[in-house]
Symmetry: C2
Subunit: 271 residues, 2 copies
């Protein structure tokens, strides 16, 4: 491993970590920011994502020895005092662990679906603009063994620092693809033999009554606006019955309820 102690917060090698909170919203050319031990472990183990560097509070070095050893030996690990990581990042990094990862080449949705097994569950996010919800959806997709996540052009970036953190690394574990503007989601799913289930409070089938086809896609829209009527008209619509007068579920929670129901039939191993 390549350990590089740095004491000067103005050291240019720390530039990619400056003002992390503001900059990761506008994106860095080809990079993303990972935060915390669990996420860095998943980055180190990933085949799709490569770590570019890591920034660690020096007093955490010994406890993280196995994690640092799991990184490619050429990846520089900058070791700094707590005050330096806070100054550079622009806010308190309680866990003392940041890393930069490289974004892989985007995979076309068509190619991603074509490569999935005959029995597979995918999630499609339509208009999901909130990073917490995006992270929660990826976390549930990973927990219930989904094979991939599709994102429409208006959904937010799952490789945003907070989305990765909320997903507990699920974003790094779960293959995903963003649809191009000209892609048509129902056509795309049908072409690959996926039955499209669109969640809506007015859905025609109760979730509990749903039969699980071998290839199933769960389509989720944003709280409030929900899914476009034109999309609902071309899919199997599914509802989750709720108490009269309190028809309100968070979209990440909805993903958990639906994926649990559809994954049951797969006899997921208890981990």
């Amino acid at each position: 491993m390549t350990l590089v102690p740095i004491d000067d917060p103005s050291d240019p090698r720390l530039d990619p970590y400056r003002a992390v909170r503001e900059r990761d919203l506008v994106g860095r050319a080809g990079l993303f920011v990972a935060e915390g031990e669990v996420v860095l472990r998943m980055l180190a183990a990933s085949r799709r994502f490569a770590a570019v560097s890591a920034l660690i509070v020096d007093k955490r070095r010994d406890k993280l020895a196995d994690l640092l050893a799991a990184l490619d030996p050429d990846v520089p690990v900058y070791l700094v005092p707590q005050a330096v990581i806070d100054t550079v990042a622009g806010f308190e990094i309680h866990r003392g662990i940041l890393a930069l990862g490289r974004r892989p080449e985007p995979v076309p949705a068509d190619a991603l679906l074509a490569g999935l097994p005959a029995r597979a569950l995918v999630v499609a996010a339509v208009g999901i603009a909130n990073h917490d919800n995006m992270g929660g959806i990826f976390r549930n997709a990973a927990a219930f063994g989904a094979a991939a996540v599709l994102l429409d052009p208006t959904s937010c970036d799952p490789l945003y620092r907070k989305a990765i953190r909320v997903s507990v690394g699920g974003v790094l574990a779960m293959p995903f693809a963003r649809l191009a503007a000209e892609d048509d989601l129902p056509d795309l799913l049908a072409r690959h033999g996926f039955t499209a289930f669109a969640l809506s409070p007015q859905g025609s089938t109760r979730l509990a009554d749903l039969a699980r086809p071998p290839r199933a896609a769960v389509i989720l829209g944003a709280e409030g606006p929900g899914l476009p009527a034109a999309l609902l008209a071309r899919t199997h619509t599914v509802r989750i019955p709720m108490a009269a007068g309190f028809d309100s579920l968070n979209v990440a929670t909805t993903s958990g309820i639906v994926l649990h129901r559809l994954a049951e039939a797969d006899g997921l191993p208890v981990s």
Copy 2:
């Protein structure tokens, strides 16, 4: 309705709203802060909670006329410019709506359970310290028709501003009681005929295989530590099967999955 225009941010009538973010963490004697239109509507409609005053950006007054009319006519509604509400609260109040509510006398858990119907679902939170998770649990409890929420002595306050907001008002809709230090949760539930289901990754029964007794209690612990072993030993333990290698669910999402499963049998009306 009692409309009181105020232009001076130092007006003493606005004192209870000062530095809301800091102060609602330490609590105000007998009061809580509600935020946003949906939550204020639930406060106005509540029989358990009374509004003490409201603080509204003046330009939103006309759009909120029906809501303001629903408040007790004696409750003062302070109308202020946007800059005044932001200055007083100490951060940007985008929605332009705050209110103070009065905390009701606490109900003993024993009395709350005794008053529930013969068929009822309750949620018990043990060591839930995160306000987002607390809000999410209440939101799901309300959505799936739970009758009450119990809180152990170490769980956080659901009447914290952010927990109420995340619950979409569920905290104001759902009866709840906090256990005293000397209360024993399994004893309490057994005394009132509730079967206690404790969620744990090592639970002995799969959620999908659970039979729904008339009175059921779902016990949830914090992510990470989970529920105490002594509690698990005295309850029916339940697991949600997950993918190998990614055994990770958010506790609010867990509450949604379990409550949906147990409420199915109740044939909840689709709202």
